[in-house]
Amino acid sequence: MLHVDDLRVHYRTLRGDVRALDGVSFSVADREIMGLVGESGSGKTTLGKSLIRLDGRMRHVGGTVTLDGTELPIGDDGRMNAFRFNDVSIVPQYAMSAMNPTRRIGTMIRELVTSRGIRFDTVRSELDRRLDLVGLDREVLDRYPIELSGGMKQRMVMVISTLLNPKLLVADEVTSALDVSTQRAVALALAGFRDRDLVHAMIVITHDVSLVYQIADTILVMYAGKLAEKAPTDVIVERPLHPYTRALIAALPEVGVQYAGKRLTGIPGGPPSLRPPPPGCRFRDRCPVAFDRCAEQPPFVEVEPGHSVACWRAS
């Protein structure tokens, strides 16, 4: 069970802080796959990284993250190390280059595991099982990363990241670089991990709503560093409350839809700068239903069980 409470993470830059995460609170239940969607730059990656490892420019400004009752010391790189891999793990956006190119994959895994104080023998058989699970030959362990195709690498990284059965797995854009058929295989493999209870909870970050729709239990929509809406997958797709969510869904073309038949519309304008963000609702400028009250930041409130939204109109 993951609880994120009022998490604020900023990027330090020369021209002031970028408030990439500006107070986000949500929870992910056990055995829940939560899809995290939003426009580019909305803070999805930042959120994912915050749960694992802040990079040099990221600063934990406030808020807490609690995993199964333990507070994660996300601002403290040293103390956080104990949780990584064991409790929280990530499948990064850059899976294509995530493995040391000059090490055989098996060797790398052995060294990684050993460095965490775990004897390789103890995980060896599990490793083989996982490879079978994602449909990789065991012999890939003797290969170098360059000898694997993109989809294979993606699945390999998934196996590595989940090897110690973490409580939480963050998967960041794991399918974006793949073509449709591979995409499907990888996404299903991801769901497979949850189904076999190898991972308790999972956050799947993507900008492709239709993809998360396939595997996620709930979807969290982010907009400009803030949460816009969270609800079970079907609810989000069928009855979105936040105008941004609605626009997002409406802009998705579907197979069979032709412009001549049903002309889709995009969302006019662009997201605001986060350095610093304007006051009030951040979607205000692009929102077709904005009104005076929007000058004030709407709270992220639960409007029905499991369905929270940050919009004055909705609540």
């Binding site: 449709v180 058929s181 492709d208 239709s210 729709y213 069979g256 839809v257 032709q258 002309r263 519309t265």
Partner: protein, 303 residues
């Protein structure tokens, strides 16, 4: 208007260029004015290569590409310039299509230098404004800015505006929307649709089937450089025949429909039903609907 006849492309790769890589094999199709053809295939299937050959950025190894009856391989300096007046391209990555060192509107100035050297400032400014408004860009927002100060959608539209400055009749749009956000993407798609209304032919290259479907009159499915199925979009999407096409379609994540393993069985080889002893690369299986043998390109026998 544009016609590809048995076009192939072989890249020489490896040390001392000894290995052949058949990126495109024996591809033929036609593009008529005001028609959008979408070229669909997985990564590496040769889509971009076809687009580049049409724009003469790469030469075909064999086969001919004709534009208004002229073989574009024969074009030389002056005539090539005229060809580009009529045919232009827009590419996948808007950020890499702009030279980051220069202001974004340099792409427009280059057109002026080559094609409109005599045009006065005022007249030119008028043309630019027209082109920009055609792609619904506000001149003040995009002129005199560096590429990194503009969004991907703006840049992509700027590129289309650039093409519009010329009297183009053909636009090769190579994955123009795959780098864009879902919301921006639809704007660009709609813009292309509008251009089609104005009589422009568009070769729409994509790996995203839903997007190919949204716009296109006709669809060509590529696999490893060969056409496996092509025809009217409604035919190809409504009744996908080739197993590869079916796999692709089944893998597309759709809202409201979860993945299932149905629809994957293609039944017996429909190509062989038409040409039992083998024949042309593509067999007609319906009205404006052609398909290749179900076997891969490598196997000779269809099982």
């Amino acid at each position: 208007m544009l016609r590809l006849d048995g076009v192939s492309k072989t890249y020489k790769v490896g040390a001392l260029a000894r290995k052949d890589l058949h990126a495109v094999r024996d591809v033929s199709f036609e593009l008529r004015p005001g028609e959008v053809v979408s070229l669909i295939g997985e990564s590496g299937s040769g889509k971009s290569t076809i687009g580049r050959m049409i724009l003469r950025l790469t030469r075909a190894t064999s086969g001919t590409i004709t534009f208004d009856g002229t073989d574009i391989a024969t074009l030389r300096r002056g005539s090539l310039k005229e060809y580009y007046r009529a045919a232009q391209g827009v590419f996948q990555d808007p950020f890499s299509t702009f030279n980051p060192v220069f202001k974004a509107d340099r792409v427009l100035t280059m057109i002026r230098q080559v094609y409109f050297p005599g045009t006065g400032d005022v007249e030119w400014r008028g043309r630019v404004d027209d082109a920009l408004s055609a792609v619904s860009l506000n001149p003040d927002q995009v002129l005199d800015k560096y590429p990194h100060q503009l969004s991907g959608g703006q840049l992509q539209r700027l590129l289309i505006a650039r093409a519009l400055l010329l009297d183009i009749r053909l636009l090769v749009a190579d994955e123009v929307i795959s780098m864009l956000d879902a919301s921006t993407r639809i704007d660009v798609l709609n813009l292309l649709a509008d251009l089609k209304e104005r009589g422009l032919a568009v070769l729409f290259i994509t790996h995203d089937l839903s997007l190919g479907n949204y716009l296109a009159d006709r669809t060509v499915i590529l696999r490893r450089g060969s056409v496996v199925e092509c025809g009217a979009t409604s035919a190809v999407f409504g009744d996908p025949v080739h197993p590869y096409t079916r796999t692709l379609l089944a893998s597309v994540p759709r809202l409201g429909i979860r993945w299932s393993d149905e629809d994957l069985d293609p039944g017996p080889c429909r190509y062989h039903a038409v040409h039992p002893g083998g024949g042309p690369p593509l067999a007609e299986v319906g009205d404006d609907h052609l398909v290749a043998c179900f076997a891969g390109n490598d196997e000779r026998e269809c099982v």
